[in-house]
Amino acid sequence: MDGSVQTEDTWSVAGRTFRSRLIVGTGKYKDYAQNAAAAEAAGAEIVTVALRRVNLSDPSQPMLVDYVKPDRFTFLPNTAGCFTGEDAVRTLRLAREAGGWDLVKLEVLSNTKHLLPDMEETLRALKLLIAEGFQVMVYCSDDPVYALKLEEAGAAAIMPAAAPIGSGRGIQNFLNLGLIIEQSKVPVLVDAGVGTASDAVLAMELGCDAVLMNTAIAEAGDPIRMARAMKHAVIAGREAHLAGRMPKRSYADPSSPLAGLI
């Protein structure tokens, strides 16, 4: 033992407590088996899922819940593809019926080119969902002003995009993300735009409570290995954040004492 006090490092959203700070998506994988293996390798406890019409022409096709099992992972249903508050509410009412829980991810998109959130419509949809008793984690822009409006409206978590969904560009605005982390009393998660492990480390070092990603793992050359890398990255970033980094200096400072030189 090194004598330091080790308490379990957990985070909570909407009254649920989690140890893993990595939430993974379930889209874009080769198949559901690879998807399930990646979620396991990531150590994830929460996975995002989408809601779509069943394929009536082939009801025997594989189903997500047979591989990524709801008794192993907390499902976080999303509203991907919704462009209005009403679309989002309708989708999540169905998701609540399909899954039986009220923790959801709201995303109201503006256009299909950049998939950036329509924040005015997102805020309106959030209010509709809260009125119906949902616990809402909100995908949003990295705008601290809108982030605060979401929190004041009752968001369970603030989830700014690091960069556009699926772009893999990493955090584009550290200053804004830092301001959002500083002002928020609910969990802040970077959601979207992470490309590789270092992006996740930086998000966690900055003080995010967790990171949500899909494409960075699913489109990696070896998704299972990248899932493992992301698990370590999130832990490393979190530990560095808690440890507190050394100050940056303009000049060198020797690590070996200069006194006693022969």
Partner: protein, 66 residues
């Protein structure tokens, strides 16, 4: 009986309830959610939910997503 299921017009022999429709389509009721004419039908109510000609039914499930 003519229904619109997931946007497709379809003809069925007489169905006593929504539960019969789900079975007729070969779906596992535990893995789907259903809307009838834009109203959610709780899974526990499938058996007592009668269908009418012209009903618009949406049957959805969870798939992979980010």
């Amino acid at each position: 009986m003519n229904l619109t299921v997931n946007g497709e017009p379809r003809a069925f022999a007489a169905l006593a309830s929504l539960l019969d429709l789900v079975a007729e389509l070969g779906l596992d009721a535990r893995k789907v959610a259903v809307e009838r004419n834009l109203e959610i039908v709780p899974r526990s109510a499938y058996g007592r939910t009668a269908l009418a000609d012209g009903d618009r039914i949406e049957i959805v499930h969870f798939i992979g997503g980010g």
